[in-house]
């Protein structure tokens, strides 16, 4: 506030707040603070005693609310009114000062001893800064290792047996027709990108792509469980229409038709895992998936 009294405005007829109201307000403030204290102590005791979520929430509300009520009552009722308005005076320098400064800057930039002049030096300044920015791009590029070939392959290899989430081996007749199971490669149970969904359909229903006629022994057909849209696990198997549905964005893949997407945002079919049956009747993989798994990336090709 400036000291120019001519600009101060005091509301006419303003009076100081009467004393009795002060006492009542002070008492209310004291009460709310005491209640807040008790609630905080109660909160501590409930917590120590084992905790109960709803009681703790209520006590916390009272403890914080009591503080808030006390502060607000103080600010609204105890702090003396009335409001005083002080007009802001004119800002900005006087005109002749502004012109003098402007001229000074111009002279500094143009009229200087030496051949180059301040403006060209300023340009050189920008050039130097820009070069530093360009140079910084190279260390930024070095952040983190390149994925290399890890995006293109998974842990599946020829001869690896299929296991389920409990680590049990999967036989060719483990699933009944219409059943589904999530499988992993034996020895690489933690490899999240290797997760596959095994589905058993009636063998005559499959319409295999050329060259894949023997990829599904006795109707056991395995696809990658990582959705080719954004990578959610495609776990919803609709048995009557033989479709795998992804829960995130509802991409729907036709199990009988090489898991081609029938609906939803996915555009690539789920990669298929070629299966075989080993001597003991267990299902084994014949190699990796036929395509890189998961969402597409820029050098997928």
């Amino acid at each position: 506030m400036t000291e120019s009294d001519a600009d101060s405005v005091v509301e006419p007829g303003a009076e100081p707040v009467p004393a009795s109201s002060d006492r009542a307000t002070e008492r209310n403030i004291a009460v709310s603070l005491v209640v807040s204290t008790l609630a905080a102590l109660g909160l501590a005791m409930v917590y120590i005693g084992g905790g109960q979520a709803q009681a703790e929430g209520a006590l916390l509300m009272v403890a914080l609310g009591g503080l808030g009520v006390a502060v607000i009552l103080w600010a609204r009722l105890l702090v003396p009114g009335p409001e005083i308005t002080d007009e802001r005076g004119e800002t900005g320098s006087p005109a002749e000062d502004a012109e003098a400064v402007e001229q000074n800057i111009e002279e500094t930039l143009d009229d200087a001893p030496g051949e180059m002049g301040r403006r060209s030096v300023l340009r050189l300044f920008w050039v130097a800064l820009g070069s530093l920015g360009l140079a910084a791009l190279f260390p930024i590029r070095s952040l983190g290792p390149s994925p290399g070939r890890t995006l293109l392959t998974t842990a599946w290899k020829e001869g690896l047996r299929l296991i389920d989430q409990e680590g049990r081996l999967v036989r060719v007749d483990t699933l009944v027709v219409g059943g589904t199971l999530t499988v992993f490669p034996e020895g690489a149970e933690k490899a999240a990108d290797a997760q596959a969904v095994l589905v058993r359909v009636a063998p005559g229903l499959i319409r295999p792509r050329p060259g894949r006629e023997d990829w599904a022994p006795e109707g056991n057909i395995a696809y990658s469980k990582v959705c080719t849209h954004v990578g959610c696990p495609v776990g919803l198997y609709q048995e009557d229409s033989h479709e795998l549905v992804c829960p995130c964005h509802q991409s729907t893949f036709d199990v009988l038709d090489g898991a081609r997407p029938r609906f939803g945002p996915a555009t690539r079919a789920l990669p298929q895992l070629a299966l075989d049956v080993d001597r003991d009747g267990f299902l084994v993989a014949r190699g990796d998936f036929d395509q890189p798994v998961g969402p597409g990336f820029w050098n997928l090709g």
């Binding site: 979520a53 709803q54 808030g68 607000i72 609204r76 009114g81 389920d164 989430q165 036989r171 007749d173 483990t174 699933l175 009944v176 027709v177 219409g178 059943g179 589904t180 199971l181 999530t182 589905v199 696990p233 776990g235 919803l236 198997y237 609709q238 048995e239 009557d240 229409s241 479709e243 549905v245 829960p247 509802q250 729907t252 609906f263």
Partner: protein, 253 residues
Amino acid sequence: MTAWRARLAVLLPLVGAGLLAVSAGAVQPAQAQLPPPGAAQAQVEAGRQLYLVACTSCHGARGEGGERGPTLVGAGAASAHYYLSTGRMPLNQTGVQPQRKPPIYSEGEIEELTAYVASLGPGPSQPHIDVSQGDLAEGYELFSNNCASCHSSAGIGGALGHAIYAPGLKPASTSQIAEAVRVGPGAMPVFGPETIDDHQLESIVRYVVYLKNPDDRGGYGLGHLGPLPEGFVAWVVGLMAMLGVARWIGTRD
């Protein structure tokens, strides 16, 4: 070749084929229900009478199925009991997913119809479930891995493709839950005993029963729908309350 070797060369395949035929006939699938013995024949016959009244128009005179309904040969007691006790059969409307409704048959009639359908051909029998033998923690793991993707982690159901939904599990009885797992009705996959054995099934049933009244630590469960209603409550109730308080703070006398 000597004479006896020549005779052996003819006899051996015949004997082998004969043995094969006998053994193939003797082996039954583990879950198959054989036609009941004569003492329960009355129940089958009573079921057949009920069947002839209400079921032949879609399922055929002998359960062979037709244009309007699938075959019941091989459906088994589990399937029949599931569909009849949940009231999904008889259908009240074709062309849409069968819906749970109060069954029109009494329990005795359901048993008779179940016996009749089971007699049509070998199929999954009704599972015997002792819920108290189930392990709740194991049931949680199995449910989350196998069931939650369609039925939601709280078992309240969810939408699937093609105007089909996975129903909420709250109204299901223990026998219906077990039967549904073994039968795989409609769009549901079939979980045979090789993927979920009988003890695991008991655990799953026990967990689903728990889900009917889960321990809602946060107070009101909001229908167990998840982040959507929770966000609604936080924004509408919480934020409105805060707006009200902010307004009160800023009010001038």
